[in-house]
Symmetry: C2
Subunit: 351 residues, 2 copies
Amino acid sequence: MSQQYKIALDAMGGDFGPDVVVPAAALAYAQNNNLRFIFFGDQYRISPLVEKHKALAKVSEVHHTPDIISNDEKPAVALRQGRNSSMRLAINAVKDGGAHAVVSAGNTGALMAMAKFVLKCLPGIDRPAIASLFPARLNDTVMLDMGANISCDAEMLVQFALLGSVYARVVRGIERPTVGILNIGSEEMKGHDHLRDAASILTNVKFPGHFKGFVEGDDIPNGTVDVVVTDGFTGNVALKVAEGVANLLLDSFKGALKSSPLALLGGLLAYGALKRLKKSSDPRAYNGGMFLGLNGICVKSHGGMDAYGFSCAILVAANLVQQGYNERVAVELEKLLGQESFVSELSGAGS
Amino acid sequence: MSQQYKIALDAMGGDFGPDVVVPAAALAYAQNNNLRFIFFGDQYRISPLVEKHKALAKVSEVHHTPDIISNDEKPAVALRQGRNSSMRLAINAVKDGGAHAVVSAGNTGALMAMAKFVLKCLPGIDRPAIASLFPARLNDTVMLDMGANISCDAEMLVQFALLGSVYARVVRGIERPTVGILNIGSEEMKGHDHLRDAASILTNVKFPGHFKGFVEGDDIPNGTVDVVVTDGFTGNVALKVAEGVANLLLDSFKGALKSSPLALLGGLLAYGALKRLKKSSDPRAYNGGMFLGLNGICVKSHGGMDAYGFSCAILVAANLVQQGYNERVAVELEKLLGQESFVSELSGAGS
């Protein structure tokens, strides 16, 4: 029998709760038969849905939890008062060894606060980051942080570079991933000090990636590097701008193809090709914000995702478990922290 | 005779120098017969080009300048050593009253450093910002700062809100423009302190815009507000991400329409509609970064623009002059600085 991977699912998170999470698990299971599921939440809503999927029912448990973390709950409040919530108990399952990973579509801030509190950071990591895949020419770009840390110092950015390059290596199979720090390019504006300090450290230490220096905003969709490192504020703005521009342009295309009978006919003839294009840039396939740097695998789904989108987030978590992501990060961190040049660069950067 | 507007042109800036700047002036003049031009640069290259355009030749002077600021010159060096450069002497012409505005496609940092040094800031403005139009649903969004100031405090953001809303009112004719501060939305990450401080000031003072609070990255292309205020680092990243995503999608779209004979036929039938779409999002039409907050009008063209693109930057400068932008800003600044609530909010924000 091959290895089984147990995924703890916060069934009450997101806009649709179990109505999306249960069928999503069924879809993920169809893709990967090694998965097992523990649903946390209202068993009276979850169990009837699970029973509808015979194959899923055989590999699932339901753990009843009385409380739900609402989307507008402040993280500190959720942490204090949410001890019996579906989200918290799903995270606890990873801590206790009952599950290999947790996936939730709930309140991002509460999930991050609880995951940090329960799972703690890996040794050598100050604060976890949220990493996402960004659609790009040729290969997708891995980008972090997407919003967990609005300000980052040089050392955190170096840690993110390591977290991102181990991800690109072990999950995406890129032997020596290229890494860039997001900056603005003009000569005269050299960017914030901590960006230069981080660049100096990454130039001098050995780590699993190949540091290529600074990159600019258009390098993200262009896929100039495999891993883009930035603070959570800039990363979040960049992601939302990209989503907004993509939606605006797709709507404009649609509008143009409906603007005249001839254009409409043209659009119909090109329908198959345009549908393939749409599929290749389907945001659901990019769902799954990875909380990297924690002592446990935790993945966040967008709250508004449908079952297919949520199933993609489950498969992201499963991949991190199967590839032994955290174990590889731990090994690389130990190597990094032991380097004389890392220690001397860090003390230099702080001065 | 109607009012004439004299534009000082740095003919040596940009990737193509006079070969682009001179025909650009001819195009701008065809659009606006009230324009007059002074070309600064190598007269032996400029004059023959001007002579080719008879109408232009009648309304142009050429001012020979020996030096050129290169694209990789550091701003401080350009400031010290570039006193006889085409860029510097074109700026001087605005200061001396010989021209109403200056347009350059040269080194951004050098242009900003020289413009600040020569023209100074308007009273009440700490540092100028670069403002650009951003294509959005319905109306374009005015965004600033796009890269002049990598870090901004609350007071600077408030000044930018005023500069942007006066622009939206006097140039774009929006009586009470809506203004938003760019932030990341999640409840748990409240954004940097100075963003909250700026929001608090804008909520309490009277200024020419209507403050709508925080906006997120996707609100820029969605046109949720007329004016988006941010620091130069974030603004520059947002602009470049948007350009990169738009280029990637347009290329993917072209690729899809060539992927099969049927799609190709469809693309040909829809050609007219797609061409109109391309024209409506032509980046050349959005060329012209406005240096707002200076005691004089200064507009930066992209270095790689062709004559049509550069002519758009000239017309942006002409518009600011014709609408009396700086005079209106001065009036509004005086009103703002005289408000008791502004002064008390500012001292509160610093505490």
